[in-house]
Symmetry: C2
Subunit: 94 residues, 2 copies
Amino acid sequence: MISAFDSIAQGLQEAIDLNNGKEVAAKTHRLESVDVAELRRNLGLTQMEFASKFCISVSTLRHWERGDRTPHGPALALLNVVAKEPQAVMRALA
Amino acid sequence: MISAFDSIAQGLQEAIDLNNGKEVAAKTHRLESVDVAELRRNLGLTQMEFASKFCISVSTLRHWERGDRTPHGPALALLNVVAKEPQAVMRALA
DNA sequence: GCATTAAGTAATCCATTGGATTACAATTTT
DNA sequence: AAAATTGTAATCCAATGGATTACTTAATGC
């Protein structure tokens, strides 16, 4: 849920860095926060099923859904992939 | 790099749990540890490129490759997906 | 309607990971 | 050989991931 402003500001900063010949691991530019509960409901899964299919612990998922924890780094990346290519992820983790 | 013995032992424990009507979020049964450096080399990427494409920090990746940190939970899941469906992940995170 | 089961909320604990940073070594490129 | 690139290593810190216990809400079966 990054705002358009934040996204542009980040994109601008990265362009500056690239101009400086400094390539950063630009992970935040393409990653969006994910409404995990909505994603899960859209997939028609219970928390247990989601956690099982995507190989995370159910307590972790619950923390995310309640909003008292925020997925970061690889967790956020995984969720973005789940959101965009759920079948591929399930295939890979079956 | 879980051994076959560990995998079977885990599978057995899970079968027992399912028999007890207790479904666990069975994340470890299908996840294998990943030789991250090998995976990266197989994809023909530098650390920076890999970190950028898969939206993790390069310092995280380096810790993994050196073995002083071990990806866990969502991170390990992500790496498993990268190992099995790299194109899908790259597509999703482009 | 009640008991049971399933699904989900919430709080707490702890280990360690993720990310950033600095310094340096090794490798590749010019 | 020098410069640039790539990768190793150590350190710091926040907070996450996972587990656990207790509880509430929703669904199911008799």
